[in-house]
Amino acid sequence: MLIAGVMLTLNFFGKSFGVSSNLRTVCAAVLRPKAKFFDFNWRNELWNLVFLGGSALGGFVAHQYLTAPGTDVVQLAPSTVADLQALGFTAPEGMQPSELYGAAGMQDPKTWIFLVAGGLLIGFGTRYAGGCTSGHAISGLSNLQLPSLIAVIGFFAGGLLMTHVFFPYLF
């Protein structure tokens, strides 16, 4: 519900809520590729990069000032805990599994491959689809856009395929 507030506030500021387009802006501003897709005035999108920076700051503030140490253990559904244990994940001890985002996970080259592959899929897929959870699922569906509904169906098709078909082979 508060997320709709974020979207409507950005609308009120004359902008739209969509996080993944920042990836394209970073490409255009930092990597300066020659492809036509990146030939646009990225300075017009600086507001969104500032929003992105604010999101990181928000994560910092939430952790440092709004969460007592050790109280951010996710109270996961017992069935999920059991399913993940079968894949080799211990019960949650925080917000993220140490197997992927902890020091132990970082020592396993397999973890790096997963994070790199996941990032590539996110960057490639969101731009191909024309948006991510914010641009399609929240902004697009709120504006009753058919391409957004198809994209969200795609999000779930990919997510279900990865979780239920590929995960048992990966983990």
């Binding site: 999101s55 899929l121 689809a129 795609g154």
Partner: protein, 137 residues
Amino acid sequence: MKFLKFLLVGVFFGIVMAKSEAMSWYRIQEMFRFQSFHMYGIIGSAVALGVVGVALIKRFKVKDIQGNPIQFAAKEPGWIKALLGGSLFGMGWAITGACPGPIVVNLGYGYWPFAIVFVSAVVGTYAYGLVRDKLPH
């Protein structure tokens, strides 16, 4: 300080992502396994309220902060790109447990390996830009 308001909205968004646990890999797994209402409640309530908000803005021709009518850009049509691109993103979402917003929220929260995800996502978008003309849309 015309950017300050965007910084503040971003901070609010980051706090919401963290305190609602939408930034957690565990919550995304729970969602893709249909074992909890948690994420469906977060996304569903956002869309429900968003539909009403957008409809009201259109109905009453609400103006933005600069006095211009608020406009909503139509999404580019094409079901192939939406379905294929969406599926690729969905697979990345399931592995990493984060979509683009929560990637940076996690970085701020202190989960540094998300830097790997972020840099890879930038490279992924770069790769899309290079092969865009060869893909079906």
